[in-house]
Amino acid sequence: MAQYHPDDEWLTGYASGAVNEQTSVLVATHLTYCPQCREEVARQEEIAGAMLDALEPEDAAAEICAREIAAPASRSVGAKGEAAPRGSFNAIAPAPLIQYVYEKTGTTDIDRLPWSFYGPGIERAILVEDKEGAIVRLFRAQPDAKFPDHEHGSDELTVVLTGAYSDHTGRYAVGDVQCAPKEISHRPVVEKGEICIALVVSEKPAVAKSFAVRMAQRILGR
């Protein structure tokens, strides 16, 4: 069961609907592993529901009622997007993340994700990089792999899917969320024994600390 949870701000943003698409998939991934946070979200939805009850009703809706109540079954609701086919990613990822990855990459096969070299023993697949600066990546790191010491251009959220890693703030295993504020600089090290796959959501690319790593990343495409 998850030991590290999203900050209150992210859970509240998920319950209220204020978070963006990529934060919502990261939180839903954590919630799959974390019954306590699911209960917290449900509690906040009860609070919002009670506030909905207390709203001053809009009169304009009354006449629609009379017309619409008659035949709810005659209206239909739009179908959901195409369901993701089963692939090797299904074994390690919760449903909302499988769907998200499928929509962004067209595959649910781990080995067919757009992996590229990131560092020794570490691969990265970019799922989203948009004009607003949002960047969503999967990392796949071999046991014992060491990430370069890096800072972040923005707050960064990570959720672990397989294996575990540690840095000076703690040990993060399956379902755990690390909220790394942009001030922190950290050097995650992957545990022995298992490949670590994690989803990372941030606003701008992390800034590698050493000049050499920065140059290397620039040459390699980031």
Binding site: D8, S16, A28, P57, I69, P72, S76
Partner: protein, 202 residues
Amino acid sequence: MCLSHNSINDLNTRGAERELHRDVEERTVFLAQVKTRRCKASYERLYQYYAPRICAFLRQKGADERISQEIMQDVMTRVWHKADQFDEKKSSASAWIFAIARNRFIDVIRQSKRSEVDPNDPLLAHREEPAPDSRLQQGERISALKAAISELPGDQAEVLQLVYLSGMTQQTAADRLSIPLNTVKSRLRLALEKLRRRMEYV
């Protein structure tokens, strides 16, 4: 068979000690009736109650009158078609309908996607021990919650409104109120702690 007007009246006239919790339970019962018996009379009651409130909610989030009515109709259509997904043990009708309206707003207005947990996910983790049994009955919890919301200090209630009804991020709420982000966070935290305590104990 579905709820007749007589049985609705029976619901309305249950014991006086239940009076306080009556309408919450009633709406949750109506929704359960739609779910199990496709009951039109219950749906009608839900429509009359929620349609004007969903419109008010969407207006608060910034939708104009026409769009808010369109989204409201879509939300209420979903209430009919998706009632089988409602679980009266897990949430009240209002919380469930809030979530549908919130999600439709994200879809239609923000043109963004929202991810939800799949209750049938093979990876879904469950509590090792069941949730503590000291919890109140749903109707009691909701009326305790409503009383607690109405007793919140004005500055905390204001933050709650901006966050849950207007759907603002905490940073946007701070900008709107011209107060530091940390003040928004602490007001929200204080409010949520109070509400949580009142939902769990008499």
